[in-house]
Amino acid sequence: MEEVCARFVSQKISKARWRPLPAAALQPPDLFATGSWDNEDNRISIWSVGDVGSAGLNGEYQGEPQLLCDIRHNGDVMDMQFLDQERIVVGSSTGSVTVFRHHQNNQTLSASHRWENAHYHADQYTACGGAACTGVICNNPEIVTVGEDGRINLYRADQKDAVRTIDNADSSTLHAVTFLRTTEILTVNSIGQLKIWDFRQQRNEPAQIFSLTGDRVPLHCVDRHPNQQHIVATGGQDGMLSIWDIRQGTMPVSLLNAHEAEMWEVHFHPSNPDHLFTCSEDGSLWHWDTSTDVSEKPSFLHQGGRSTAYFSHSTINQSVVSAWLSNDPTKDRMEITNLIPNQTLSVNTLDVLGPCLVYGTDAEAIYVNRQLFA
């Protein structure tokens, strides 16, 4: 049986992230961080879901996330990533990028470094207004940030100044960023383009541009397949999930009609990449499962009580091992489950690690599911 714990936290959650596990760890993650938005004072909070010490009297509140510590954050939390076990990089709507350190011995948070005005609008009329930093990605020690000003910054955690800055990298707003390889990043923007940037090149031009055809639907999120780096998933304003094969073509391999409104985040399961998770403004959170073997569950016999549907890919060019790119029509099925039955307000964020899923909503609640594959 599923175990979902909810907690109302009196702040709209914009980001939730699990703390990464040490390499050899076997136990599920027990700590996550959240950031809020649209509040008078926004906060970064660390929550614990572990059994040890967190259970209330008589263990009755076992499983409900417990607040460990929090700290004020200037501006909306736009994006947040763990740099390592202790440090969190947060992008703010004021344009600054801050590294917070979580001191685990006394459970406190402190700002250890801040790049003020990492993103800004250069303008002669108004005094250098900050532009929201919309995306952050870390690959210790490197940190890449993108913003509404179309700028890409490359920082190193221990250095004061930016290692590399690409001004006007994009004419429109950059919405998200992720690492493709150690020197290459992927960005998505508000005119439906997916761009690859290579930091080895000195030119301030993208190495490659992919785009959706025609209608320029903005893309809001991007994630890369953890094992097969050429497979990339993006989510758009119309709720469409696009799967791209960046080795070839400039168009997505498949377009899957999904949510009814903006898809805010898409994540491949880090260790089980046949599973994908997406969440959306329409208040839904979908679990896409391509591991389902058709022979096990013939679709005409399957009468799920849950909202389960089988989708078929439409355009596929080649056969690859990955289910995400496969073109065999008989095998080409995926099971999709909506994990939130009574949706109302937007699910802004989700993160998945091991068997655990955390998501946060505009209804000021955080939810933790610790038995994802049970």
């Binding site: 714990c5 109302f8 008589n58 009755e60 709507s93 009329y125 307000l345």
Partner: protein
């Protein structure tokens, strides 16, 4: 009793929460979550009370889940409007208001009278002025909405508004002065958010259900609301405990008592209106209600049972009395049996009393017995009690005699236990239990009024809470809502309660003379309050959606006033507008964002926004900026955007030109000269290019004309020449005597190039044809 299990709550499937408690009842264990637990309905006959330790489960209270009476002695109580004001006047003011709400239209007189009542109530001037400011603030916000909102909201709501913020001076001082303070309390935000989900669920659930199922569903919804209040109360209580600051502590404590009063009222409304329990079950429900909300006894019980010799404890008989007064016979008998063991001499007496208590007939919840049957049994039992009392069986023990009198429904005997009952509504329920167990809903009002009079006597005057409960007992629904609006400091309670009652089809007969109806009016007020909050505005949207008449107008006016700090927030607001086909607002939001981007020199972004808004004029403006920048710098910025315009290029002529012109550059760069030449010519002959740009275009043609290979055909060259002549002719008209050297030189060069090209092409075409 408690389990750390992993199942979900069996009672409410509303929110998936971890199962936290189990409740044993009639041999069956029900697993309930922390929220649902306190709202369990039928009193467990086994006497096991899991949440509140009873005699059979003397567990320590968990995580502050005590009865609210144990919340540091906070009673359910509403803030007294004004401690100093004489009661008579206060009552008078209320009556006036009560008369005012349905009889609207006389807005002006009402307003003045409401103002007058405040003046005469002798309230400190400072407070009055402050309250006035706050209202002024709110009024300014709402005034904008009212403009478009069909210019309504005359008197009555003004009166409610005026009296709305009446609250305890301590509360008022502890909080921010000029805001709708409750919205700013962290803990209450949980209440708003969680109840929002229930509200939306209630609106969604279909109407066509069978009446019975529908009723059960509504009761369920009502319980959900109550469990949210409970949960909020717990949180608030925790906050009060952990508050270091004493002012903060008292503020939280006040909130706890207000919340508990809310729950008390809600619960009564649930019994009387939502569930509409018939005679018989009605009494059982009322007993539950009293037991749930008045539980001083549990502390006492714990104390008594914890002592070494319970029957010798000084509070022993008090506890027994309370059990009897609350109709908890099994628990009372349990205690009495201990006493009986200690006094073997009077064993017989105990046995008789025990027997009487055991035999007492209770109305059944099911349809197993009819009312007459019940009444007959009752009569019989009553006579038996009477007999024992008269023959002096209990004469030797005053405690037992008084219990027997209580069983007989002797009002004086019950009133003697006033201290134990603490409230008049407890007295009412006890009185009903022992003298009118089959009371009909409509008879309640008589007993309620007389109970209150008897209990309170002459000297004290009713508090707001008493008036509200009394109105409920009198089935004066509108009066309840009105009194609550007056007494409570926010609209949450009345808005949700009214909405629920409206779904029970209880409010339809009543129409206001303004706006649409009471439900909508209150929802609009509540949602407007949410919109004034920097973060809760998203909740307000759904409330407006379910106001059929004015909701949309309100939403339109409110949504335009939300500050758009980031694009993400703008996108969220935009989505709300797009889902509701609010085209005007969509356009204005896009325009704001485009303007912002333009100010920040983000031409690409600005263009994207204006394309999204389909704003042709703005797109033209931005395209001009692009072209101007090109003319100045000689290269295009934001190529990634312009190259990918696609069909959106057709939005405005200038944008089309921009896209096509850029295409010319690309063709030229790719050395596809003839295509480039054709496109360039087309831009001028089809009048896509603005005239001011023709010179630039012709200059762009120069290198093509000078290519080694002939590109322009003779016909095209003639066209080009015509364009050039058109241009110079127009120039001449405008600025005859202004001679620009550069310009003339350009024209000269062009003419020369055109002539040479023409010569070459004639030769070429001639030879081709000839050969």
């Amino acid at each position: 009793m408690c389990s750390g299990g992993s199942t979900t709550c069996e009672r409410l499937k509303c929110v998936k929460r971890p199962m936290v408690r189990e409740q044993a009842r009639r041999g069956r264990r029900t697993r309930l979550c922390s929220y649902c637990f306190p709202t369990t309905l039928p009193r467990p006959s086994s006497g096991i009370r899991a949440a509140w330790p009873g005699p059979a489960s003397p567990l320590p209270p968990r995580r502050g889940l005590q009865c609210r009476h144990c919340f540091r002695g906070e009673r359910p109580r509403l803030p007294q409007s004004r401690g100093a004001s004489p009661s008579g006047r206060r009552g008078g003011g209320r009556r006036r208001l009560a008369a005012g709400l349905p009889a609207a239209g006389r807005g002006e007189t009402l307003r003045s009278s409401a103002g007058g009542s405040r003046q005469e109530s002798g309230q400190p001037r400072g407070a009055s002025a402050r309250a006035g400011e706050r209202r002024g603030h709110g009024g300014a916000r709402h005034g904008a909405a009212a403009d478009g909102g069909a210019g309504r909201r005359p008197g009555p709501d003004a009166a409610v508004l005026r009296v709305g913020p009446r609250r305890d001076a301590a509360v008022r001082d502890a909080l921010r002065p000029e805001r709708d303070q409750d919205i700013y309390m962290e803990t209450l935000r949980k209440l708003f958010n969680e109840s929002h989900g229930i509200f939306v669920g209630l609106q969604r659930c279909e109407e066509e259900r069978a009446a019975r199922a529908r009723n059960a569903q509504l009761v369920q919804v009502s319980k959900n609301y109550r469990s949210v209040i409970r949960a909020c109360m717990e949180d608030m209580h925790q906050a009060a405990i952990s508050a270091r600051d004493s002012a903060l502590h008292s503020q939280y404590s006040i909130q706890v008592s207000i919340l508990s009063a809310m729950e008390l009222i809600w619960n009564l409304c649930e019994i009387l209106f939502v569930e509409a329990a018939p005679a018989g079950p009605l009494l059982l429900r009322l007993l539950d209600w009293v037991q749930l909300h008045i539980c001083d006894v549990d502390n006492m019980v714990r104390e008594v049972l914890g002592s070494e010799n319970p029957s010798k404890h000084k509070l022993f008989w008090n506890v027994v009395d309370i059990f009897v007064l609350q109709g908890r016979m099994d628990e009372a008998r349990h205690l009495l049996s201990k006493e009986a063991i200690a006094n073997p001499t009077s064993m017989n007496m105990y046995k008789i009393l025990d027997d009487l208590m055991k035999k007492m007939p209770v109305p059944s919840l099911g349809n197993t017995q009819t009312l007459t049957e019940m009444e007959l049994k009752w009569q019989h039992w009553h006579e038996e009690c009477q007999r024992y009392l008269q023959d002096g069986t209990f004469a030797s023990n005053s405690h037992m005699e008084s219990i027997c009198k209580i069983l007989l429904g002797d009002e004086n005997a019950i009133l003697e236990k006033k201290e134990l009952m603490t409230t008049w509504y407890h007295f009412l329920v006890t009185r009903l239990l022992y003298s009118h167990p089959t009371v009909k809903p409509m008879e309640l009002r008589f007993y309620a009024q007389s109970s209150m009079d008897m209990f309170l006597g002459e000297e004290s005057n009713p508090e707001p809470l008493d008036t509200i409960l009394m109105a409920a007992f009198e089935f004066e629904l509108h009066q309840v809502i009105k009194e609550c609006s007056v007494a409570l400091s926010n609209w949450w309670f009345v808005a949700h309660l009214t909405d629920l009652l409206d779904h029970c089809k209880l409010l339809q007969s009543h129409n206001l003379y303004f706006g649409s109806n009471m439900r909508e009016f209150l929802l609009l007020e509540y949602a407007s309050g949410l919109f004034s909050h920097h973060s809760l505005w998203q909740l307000g949207v759904d409330y407006f959606d379910h106001c059929p008449e004015y909701g949309r107008v309100y939403l339109e006016l409110h949504i335009e006033r939300i500050p758009l700090n980031t694009e993400q927030k703008a996108l969220k607001v935009l989505r709300i507008c797009e889902q509701r086909q609010m085209h005007e607002q969509v356009r204005s939001i896009c325009k704001i964002m485009a303007m912002k981007a333009l100010r920040n020199n983000r031409l690409g972004s600005a263009l994207s926004w204006s394309i999204r808004a389909k704003d042709a004029a703005f797109a033209t403006l931005i395209s001009d900026r692009f072209l101007k920048d090109y003319c100045e710098r000689g290269y295009f910025s934001d190529l990634d955007l312009i190259d990918n315009l696609g069909p959106s290029m057709l939005l405005s002529d200038r944008l089309t030109f921009l896209g096509k012109y850029r295409e010319f550059h690309r063709l030229y760069g790719e050395k596809r000269f003839s295509e480039a030449a054709r496109l360039l010519l087309m831009l001028m002959t089809a009048h896509i290019a603005p005239c001011s740009f023709w010179m630039t275009l012709l200059t762009d043609a120069l290198p093509l004309l000078e290519q080694k290979e002939v590109i322009f055909s003779a016909e095209q060259t003639y066209e080009l020449m015509r364009c050039l002549e058109d241009l110079t002719a127009r120039k001449l008209d405008k600025q005859k005597f202004q001679d620009d050297d550069v310009e003339t030189m350009k024209v000269e060069m062009l003419r020369l190039a055109l002539a040479r090209n023409l010569a070459r092409v004639i030769v070429k075409e001639g030879t081709l044809e000839g050969s």
